[in-house]
Structure formats: C-alpha cells, structure tokens
Amino acid sequence: MSARAGLRRGHVLCSLTRRGSGIGRVGVSSAQQQQRRLLNHFISRAPPLPETPPHNGVPDEPLSQPQAKSFTLAVKDNIATTTSSLPTTCGSAFLASHHSPFEATIVTQLRRRGGVLVGKTNLDEFGMGSHSVNSAFGPVAQKAKRSAGGSSGGSAVAVAEGEADVALGTDTGGSVRLPAAYTGTVGYKPSYGMLSRHGVVPYANSLDTVGLLARSVGAVAELVVGAGRLWAEHDPMDPTSLSAAARARCASVREGYQGGLPLPRDESSQSQSPSLGERYTQRHGSSTLARSHEAEKSPEAMVKGVRFGIPLEYNIEELDPCIRDAWAAAAERLRALGARIVPVSLPSTRHALSAYYVIAPAEASSNLAKYDGVRYGSVRADSDEDDSKTTTDAADGGVLYAATRGHGFGEEVKRRILLGSYTLSSEAMDNYFLQAQKVRRLVRRDFDRVFALENPLHEPEAFSLSDLPDTVAMENKFGPTEVDFLLCPTAPTLAPLLENVMAQRSPVDAYMNDVFTVPASLAGLPAISIPMEVAAEKEEGVSAVAGLQLIGQFWDDARLLAVAGAVSDILKAVPTVEGR
C-alpha cells in the first residue's frame, strides 16, 4: 500500500504499513482500540498470541509446504472454527453459544499457508443483509459512521482497519464485494466450486461462495493462484467443490494457472473439447495475456489489448452520478493504455435481482429449518397461548417450533424465510421459483454470449443475433465483439450513513445495493471489487471511494486477479477524477 493510498483514505490508521511488520496488531494505542470497539466488527477475538514464530499457528499439523510468511486472518462468523474462544454464531441468537466441532476446510487451508486467526467478524445474521446491521450482536460501523456494507461488513472493516491482512467472507449475492466497495478494500468472489464451502453455514447453497478480502489484489492472488494454489484443491467433504479432474479440465483451457494439474486420462480422452483451447488460440491468435501472471509485466502492459465490456444495462437510473463518472473515467484511462472498451448488452440483468431474491430466500428457508429449538436455541414454551398443546401436539400444530423460531431469528431472516417459504409453496412454486431458475439460466447465457472464452461447464450454445438489442455494435458479420472481462461499478451508491440505513422505510430498499453484484453470483462467475476513488465531497476528511467490479468467465480467476491487480495499480497511480 502506498503512502498516497493511505492519505487518500485520510485515516491515520491506514498510513500504518502492516505489510512486513509481522502481526498487524503492534503499536495500536488504547485510544485507537477504544475507537475500533465502537466499530463492532468482531464478535469474538482470539487470545493474544505468544511472542513466538508465527508458524505455531498450526501446531498439530505438519506443514505440507515450506512455511510461507505468516499473515493475520479474520474469519466471518458464519465459517466454522474450533478455537475454544471463537464460537461460530452466524450473528444469530440461535447460535450465540455454538462451538463447532469441526473447522471449515478453507480455514484449515489458510492456516496451513501461514494464516493466524485474530477473530471472528460480525455480519448480517446468516449472511442476510447489505449493511451488516442485521446482527444479534449489533450493527457494524466503519469510520465516519458509515455502513460497512454487508453481509461481510465485519471482515471488510477488520481489513480496512489493518487488524487483519486477509479476511474471509462469504459472497452469496455480493456479500464480499459490496463491503469491499464501501470500505475501500479488495473483495474477491471466486468461481463457484473453486473454494470449499465445507464448514460454511449455508445461506443459499447454490449461490454461496467463500470470498477473500484484503487491502491489495496481490494478497488475494498470491493465495488463490500464486504459491497458495488454493484453486487446485478439491475438498471431498463439499459436494459442490469441483473434482480434481474438472479443475484440471477447466484450468487446461485457461491461462495463469501455474503448474497446472495433471489431467486424468479418462477425463482428457472424453473431455468435451481439447479443441476448446485450440479454438481460443485460433480466435485470438497469439494471446497477449499468455503467462501474464508470472511475467512481471508493468500494469500498463498488462491491460494492453485486453477487451473490457461495459454492460449497458448497468447504467441504471439509480446509479450515483459520481460513480458513473468514475466508471467512465476508469474505462477511458484503460482505453488510453491500449485496452479495448466495448459496450455489451446483458439483457437479462433487469430480472436478475428479482430472481436472486426468489432463489436465495427459498434456499435460505430450507437451510434455516434446522434451527427449531430442539438442537439449537432454546425452546420457548412460555410465550405460547396454549401450553398443553405445545407438548401434546407439537408436531401437528407446529406450536413448539413457531414460538422458538419467532423469537430466535432477527427480522430480516424471518422476512426471507417467509418469502422463501411462500415461493416454494405448491401454489407459488411455478410462478416464482421456477421462473427465477429460468431467469438464472438466461443470466448465465448472457454472460456466455459476451465472453470470448467459453463456459467449460456447459455445451456451447448458438445465439441468434436477432435477440441482441440494436445498441450493440457488431464486430463483424459473425456478431459483436467478445470480451475478456466486464467492467462495472460494484454498487450503485457510496457507503450510506448508518443512521440513514437504520431509518430506511422499506427493508427492500437495501436489496437495491446488490443489483450489480447479483448477476455474477447467479452465473457462478468470478468477480472482484477494487477501490476506485470518486469525486464527491469529503466528509470528516475522508474522500469518497467506491468499488469497481471486474467479472470474468468461469474459472478465469487467474487472469481476473492478474488484470484486476493491474487495473488497481493504474487507478491508484493516476487519480481518475479530481475532487470537486
């Protein structure tokens, strides 16, 4: 992090360089601690570490690889940890005292790579929210009393405040990217199935991904595609974790995965297309991005020739003008450096948010059915009008569970359970859940159509040009230009003041914040939010920062991280807009 970036945030803490100073909790004054406590970003903190070399963080397990340099790690509290001082509460009263008997795979993986747990971060209950205010442990705040975003708000603040070098979040519809955008950090959501979800308390399984937050893209890239090679590890405990064979197949048609994976014989022989890779080379000639990761190219050289799509549908009415300006300026800057900026159309975008808010609550209502007071939470018989019925006819009347669940869940969770229960009910299923699944397919098709790379999980589809809106320019007679990445804002607005969030008339207003992040979640694509300075009035000396989102084709995470790192450096080096 450059001194300049620290200054730009205008926050004295940010100027403290955490990198290279070992554990990031040295030299923090008690006043600063006091101030941080007000942020309420941790639910529980790990006890202070003894002054020993940090590889003791994983005392019981032999290290499978040479010990990388250690880093501090904050973990969102819906990811299971076994340390006795760190329960796994999910921000819910139901699990306030829940100590998981097992550790999430991703936590084990990161500890093996030098991660030292500093604490469990606050979140919206079970990950449901966009401002991290729906927690049984109170709302999260960031500096200047603004929303930290949600639901991984605690993790984002922990990273922004320098208390963790890397924080784990979960991203279901933008829950890592949105807090990253609000707090000026980097938030990465991997391709669905790349990082293990075993030990992640599910919100909506088909959308949930484990995401990483850090202050730089490099820190994330190092763990996922660099020496960390998280991308290569299949977890047999997670049925949605891509098998080793599928990983090898996907990686074989992608760039930037150093070392690769041996392609199993049977897989390669029946692989739908060894031609996929050939097709890529045919179509693109000699790739400008070849070995971009290992070659230490300058950021400018990295973006040269890269095609960035600007989704026309993302230029919505609700988009804050200052963010629209910064987005345009960033695109202009990249064009000036030799990138191609291509307007693209994703026609299904306008239905994506609705589809998301049907699918996610439906799955949530199912996942949360287990919290009934029998095993989690306490039975609330006292609040029932008819106590005798509670005991005699609990199963039929549902009285036993109704009281317990009504008391144990927060308002937002109850709202989504009711919503999900309705959309799955036999009379509403066809009109809501099934329609939403169709929209989900259309969203994925939209992405597959604009990306130059094919989606390795699906057979290539033929698209009719007549389906395209007139606004899309044709590259040639075969169709419009295909792109490498999509470039768009992460959220339509800047981080709002917490008091405004709390005063929001309709809880549904908050759903709007997910409009740009939800499509990539529905399609299972990798996406990353990087900080982008915007021209807005400074408040308490804080200049406004928004998130710029890059979305890539499935399993194109390596290139996405490499290019996002370059774009991030470019945006930092030259301010895109001058303050007004």
């Binding site: 990811i79 699990l95 097992f102 992640v200 088909s206 997670d238 059915a369 229960s421 299923m429």
Partner: protein, 622 residues
C-alpha cells in the same frame, strides 16, 4: 436360578399351556440359548469405521422391539371388538361391496441393505447402542454437507430391477420440508421430481394370495421408485419425554409407489407381501415388515360401479401400516367408511388417516386444511445421480433367480404345494428356503441320491423344515435362522434325522423327539446316530406274522365292524369303509409295542387279514 424363556412363559401365562416336555424338564434341561439382545452380541462400531464388516444385515437380531407391546395390542383388540359390538366378517368373503368399486394405490418404504448412510459415511445399524453411528451431517450440524454414498445405489437398483422398472440415467435429489424432532435438518432428502426408477410392474398370481375376484393373475404398475433418507427413531418415555436415536437418521430407504390399480383388499396385501419377497430375494432389503424394515401407506378411494366417466373418487391416505393383515384390514375398514359416508349423502375428504392393530375403523390424523405443504425444492448441494448402463446391465445379470421362478421350481421339481412353497420363501425373511436347500443337499448326500426328481424326500424335507421346525418355537426368530440358511438345528442334524426316517430306520415319533433334543442342544448334530444307538431307538419293526397276531386280537369282538366290510364287498355300500379300517389300525397300534410299529404296515397287514381271512370267514358263516 434357571431362567425360563419368555416364549415359554408367555405360552404358560397367556394360554395356560405347558411345553410338551413338562415343567420339570424345562427347568432341568440345558437352556435354549436365548436370542442375545442385539446390542450385546455386536462388537461396537465407531463412526466412519473403515472396515467393510460394518454391514449390519442383522437378520438374527430380535425383532421384538419393533412390535407394539403385546399388552397394548390385546387391549386395543379388546377395545375395538367391544366398540364394534359385532363379529367381523371373514376377510375372504368381504372383498367386494355390490354397487361399488374400490381403488387402492400403495407406497412402500423399505430400508436398503447398505453399509453406510445415504449421505454420510456413518455405518447403518440395527438396535445398536443409541446415537453411536452419527455423522455431523446426520444431525444437521451447521456447515456440514451431504456426501452421497454411491454404494447405496447397488441394492436400490437391484430392487428397481426386480420390480421391472426402467432405471433413469439421471436422477436428482429434492428436499421435502416439514418440522419434526426426528428430522434434524427440517427436511428429508428424497427424489420427488426425478426418481431413479420409473414404470415398473409386478405380476401377482393366484398363489400369491390375491382376491378370488382378480382371477389367476393380475398386473400392477409401479409408478416410480425413489431413494430417500430415514428419520430418527423416537422412543416415548413416561412423562412427555421422547428419546431420540439418531442412528437411524439418514439410513437409505427406497419408496416404491404403485399405480392405483388394485381393486380388492386381499390383492393389496398380496402386493405388499410379494414386494417384500422380491426385495429379500435380490438382497435389497434389510428386514421385513415384522421387523420394521418395511412400512406401507395405502391410498383408498371408492366410486359407484358404472360411474367410470367420473374418474376416481376422493382418496384418503392411511399411514404407516406395519403388517400384511393391517394393510388388508385397514383397506376394508376405510372402504366401508367411505361407502357409508357417501350413502348417507356425505362427501369423502382428502385426508390422512391412521390405523391401529385390531381395530375396525381408521381414525383421522389430519385433514386437508392441516395438510403439510412440503415445499419440495431441488437440493442445491447435491448434483444429479448418474447411473451408467454398464452398472444396470451388470446388476441385472447378477440378479439371480426371482421368487416366481423359484416357487415354480419348488412346485414342479420338488412337488411342494403352492402354499408350502410360498411359506418357505417368506419365512425368516428368505432364510428358511435357504435352510431347506441346505437340508436337502445333506439329505441327498446321506441317501446317496443326486436327483431331486424323486420328490419323495424333497417333500419330506420341506414338511419338516416348515411344520416340524415350526412346532419347536412360538416365534420363528427363536430358531435364530441366519441368512445363509443355518439355525439352532443345523441342516446336517435335520438331514441325518430325516435320512433315518426316510429309510424307515426310526419312527416319526422318534424323529420328532430327536429334533427336539437337537434343538435343546441335548444331542449334538453329529451324535444323532450314536444317540439312536445308545438309547435303543432303532425301529425294529414287527414281523408280518406278529402284526397278524395283533390284528387277530383286535378284531375279536368287532363283529359289527366286520359287517361294514362285508356290506362293501357285497356291493351294498359304495365306499370302502376306510374309517372303520383306520379304527381297527388305531386299536392295533394301542395294543402293540408302538415303537416297533409303523401305522402303514399295520394298515397293510390288517387289510390283508380282513380280505383274506375274516371276510371269507364271514361269508362262509352266512
């Protein structure tokens, strides 16, 4: 103090019977090894055990726990009888109601014979220490995920093939939501939208016990077969306390859904019986209905005959029937209730009803308004199940002989009656017929014959395996029959006894005593011949002249009887007075040394004496 077996006690206390050996013998005799409580007999298995021996196909385990307590059964029976105030009609006379047509469809749940649970590597178990085989996913630990165990497909596909289903190349899992404490996740994972097998059929023959109205044979369609999870076992404790055993949660089940194509109660019961037999014969099922491994829900509707245009009537579902008799009785009762309701101008409501053993009426569990909306949703954690054609082909080829073919063989080649053949197949969940084969093999060996064409000794073996063995105990489970066809009376032991009997070296009575001795472990199976020798039990039959002397003694003073024979001989009566003959033979048996007599020989000699000496004498006297 010596303990008396519970079956013995029960017989004494409830029926006032004392075992034929007398109470003194019972006390002195070495104890019949009691069936060990399952939990004791097993080595304890742990979670995620890697041994393949973890398969618990404990057919030997006592099924007693699965039964309703006897006292409760009797009480309910008495109550029901009192309530009805009339004697029930015999079921076989009660298959139809004039003017009405009954339609029945059945859903059968069967526990699959697998080593692991459906979505966790925890071992499946039966009557093990409670909560000893539970993985994190089984109790829905937050953050745990299902991991499909592909080995569960083997018995599932076998079952579906035995039901003539088409195996679907791709099937999927769905979540069925409802709240109950025996359901830790708040949903059951099942296959609602895309089951793994569809469009089967099952043929029921007259010998399977279908209603006479259905004729010789009827075919019932199987709509689908789906894989799903079992729930935890609830044990009610005094004072509103329920104990939960999560060993059963997540155990793989198949649900077999028939088409509504049965129209008679007996046929429905026959279907359930036949499905159990099929599942057992292809080794797909852990235990039968009597042990709680199979449960049936029946859907019942009625409509007036000739009212075909109207479609089926409103159906009700009767849940959780746990015996074949309950299936038939419940259907009859529900049919009669619906008809009475419609006759009185009422309407049948689509609702779920229950049935308790021995009652005469079904009872309402919940109505439509209380119906649970299961909110089926594809499970987002689980991918599709892809079943390859080679697997299906392999399993189809290794399916073995199906019960119908086996019964045909038993009838045609072994000379068994259809009733006996069916009983052999059904008893001990398929183990009895295996035992019969073992005995027959040994008997063939001992008699030095290899052909089973000579049905004489096959029939003998079948009779003893079924009837004489059955007389030893009250409950077949006391025989401790194993799946490979061995029991308390080893097959060699029974075959040895039968070989002597077949060769007429011992009498049937001695053979029965020997069987009893082997069962009580007083005689070891390889010491049978020695025991006959030392106890002097060989059959030293009377010579014919000795028989003749006895006959002469007996006939003395039976002039009236002799006249009957004379009347026949003179053509005055048309039927040979066989009864009179047997009367004389019986007298003969009582008069002579029974252990040296064979009733057949006695009959032969008596008849000869009558024909050759007495009747001519009588004629001469006239």
């Amino acid at each position: 103090m010596t303990r008396i077996s519970t079956s013995e006690l029960r017989r004494y206390l409830l029926s006032g019977q004392i075992g034929r050996q007398g109470c003194q013998r019972v006390l002195r005799a070495p104890l019949v090894p009691r069936p060990a409580p399952a939990a004791v007999g097993h080595t304890r298995r742990f979670l995620n055990t890697t041994t393949t021996t973890a398969t618990t196909t404990t057919t030997t385990a006592s099924p007693v726990t699965a039964h309703e307590p006897l006292r409760k059964q009797l009480k309910e029976q008495a109550k029901a009888l009192k309530a009805s105030g009339k004697k029930k009609k015999k079921n076989s006379d009660n298959q139809t109601v004039p003017g009405w047509e009954l339609t029945v469809g059945i859903e059968i749940h069967a526990q699959l014979n697998t080593a692991r649970k459906l979505f966790s590597p925890a071992a499946t178990s039966f009557n093990d220490h409670p909560n000893s085989h539970v993985a994190l996913f089984d109790v829905a630990m937050p953050g745990s995920q299902p991991v499909f165990q592909p080995a569960t497909l083997v018995p599932a596909v076998r079952a579906a093939l035995a039901l003539n289903c088409t195996i679907q190349p791709v099937s999927r899992f769905d979540r069925k939501h409802y709240f109950h404490w025996d359901q830790p996740a708040g949903y059951q994972i099942t296959q609602y939208y895309e089951p793994f097998a569809r469009n089967g059929r099952i043929v029921l023959n007259a010998r399977d016990g279908i209603a006479a109205e259905d004729g010789d044979r009827i075919e019932v369609g199987i709509q689908q077969v789906q894989l799903e999870q079992d729930t935890a076992k609830t044990t009610a404790q005094p004072g509103d306390v329920q104990w939960l055993d999560f060993n059963r949660v997540g155990v793989p089940l198949i649900e077999i859904i028939t088409r509504p194509q049965m129209h008679h109660p007996a046929t429905a019961a026959a279907l359930v019986r036949k499905i159990q037999m099929l599942l057992t014969s292809v080794d797909a099922c852990v235990s039968g209905m009597e042990a709680g491994g199979l449960r049936a829900d029946v859907n019942v509707s009625v409509r007036r005959t000739g009212d075909l245009a109207q479609g089926l009537g409103t159906r009700t579902e009767i849940k959780n029937l746990s015996s074949f008799k309950a299936v038939e009785d419940a259907i009859i009762a529900e049919r009669d209730r619906q008809i009475a309701l419609l006759d009185a101008g009422g309407v049948v409501l689509g609702e779920t009803r229950g049935w308790s053993l021995g009652s005469t009426e079904t009872r309402r569990l919940r109505g439509k308004e209380g119906e649970v909306d299961y909110r089926y949703m594809p499970d987002p954690d689980l991918g599709p199940v892809v079943i390859g054609a080679p697997l299906v082909k392999h399993l189809a080829e290794s399916l073995g002989m199906l019960p119908d073919a086996e019964i045909d063989q038993l009838m045609e080649q072994h000379g068994l009656s259809s009733k006996d053949a069916l009983s052999l197949m059904l008893l001990d969940n398929g183990a009895r017929v295996q035992y019969y084969y073992n005995v027959l093999d040994q008997l063939d060996r001992l008699l030095g014959s290899t052909s089973t064409d000579e049905t004489g000794h096959a029939l003998l073996a079948a009779n003893w395996c079924l009837h004489e063995l059955g007389k030893l105990t009250d409950s077949p489970s006391d025989l401790r029959m194993t799946a490979d066809g061995e029991c308390s009376v080893s097959s060699v032991g029974l075959a040895t006894i039968l070989s002597h009997l077949y060769k007429r070296e011992i009498t049937a009575k001695v053979a029965k005593d020997l069987l009893w001795g082997v069962f009580r472990t007083e005689i070891s199976p390889d010491g049978i011949t020695q025991a006959i020798e030392s106890e002097g039990l060989w059959f030293k039959e009377l010579r014919d002249d000795e028989y003749a002397d006895l006959a002469d003694c007996v006939i003395e003073g039976e002039d009236k009887v002799l006249k009957e024979f004379a009347r026949f001989k003179e053509g005055k009566s048309r039927a040979y007075p066989q009864g009179k003959l047997m009367f004389l033979v019986g007298k003969m048996m009582r008069a002579g040394p029974e252990e040296r007599m064979d009733p057949a020989s006695a009959e032969r000699v008596m008849k000869a004496r009558l024909d050759e000496v007495y009747l001519p004498g009588l004629e001469a006297a006239q």
